[in-house]
């Protein structure tokens, strides 16, 4: 099970609205190499991992990726806070806004919705670890 801790793993205090940057950063939320995909990748793979050390690290990193996702979402939220109609149109954020307003929705920068096809989970430790290294190589 999981418990929520009411703080960001790293603080986010953005004071200037910038929907143009938000449209790029959103890929780190719901894009192919984003935090949501990372978390689901590790948390899905761990059940068939035959080594306790690796099951442990998949669980703990999969959990931490959720905290990273929250940081990214806070960044996007703060970048689009208090958006004016002029900023909306000028930045191109209107295409996102028409479907989601200022709500957070996991998609890539190009507008593709988040999908489970962004990761693989095969039950073979070498295969899965290769997938993890390709996706998030600096950690595992």
């Amino acid at each position: 099970m999981w418990n929520y801790e009411k703080r960001l793993q790293y603080p986010v205090n953005i004071t200037q609205t910038n929907p143009k940057i938000a449209q790029v950063i959103i890929s780190q939320f719901g894009g192919p190499d984003g935090e949501l995909a990372a978390s689901m990748r590790y948390l899905s793979q761990r059940y068939t991992m035959p080594y306790n050390e690796v099951t442990g690290i998949l669980t703990d990193i999969g959990t931490e990726e959720l905290a990273h996702m929250e940081i990214i979402c806070a960044i996007i939220h703060q970048l689009t806070r208090d958006l004016t109609p002029e900023q909306l149109e000028k930045s191109g954020f209107d295409k996102y806004y028409v479907d989601h307003t200022l709500a957070l929705w996991p998609q890539s920068a190009g507008g593709a919705p988040w999908t489970a096809t962004y990761f693989q989970s095969k039950g073979d430790p070498i295969t899965d670890l290769h997938e993890d290294m390709a996706a998030d190589g600096t950690i595992l």
Binding site: E5, K6, L8, G56, I57, D60, E70, C73, A74
Partner: protein
Amino acid sequence: MSEQKPCRSELLEWINIVSFAVDDVKLFLDTHPCSAEALEYFEEFKKQRIQALKEYAKYYGPLTVDTASPCSDHWTWIHEPWPWQKGGC
């Protein structure tokens, strides 16, 4: 005996620091479960984190369910700002 109220932002920064230390050494311990040095580091920062979370809850409301005080007469969890909001953590 009067205790001085800690600075909110400084205490929160300290919580973030010690929590990151705990998170990071936890990952190291997953694959190095017998490292005496890492175990000692974990114990030290875990202690500091628990202490800081208790201190924060006492003055500024709970950040965790374990530090949500049973003595208060109302549920403060939803009153303090959420982490992505202005004035949040």
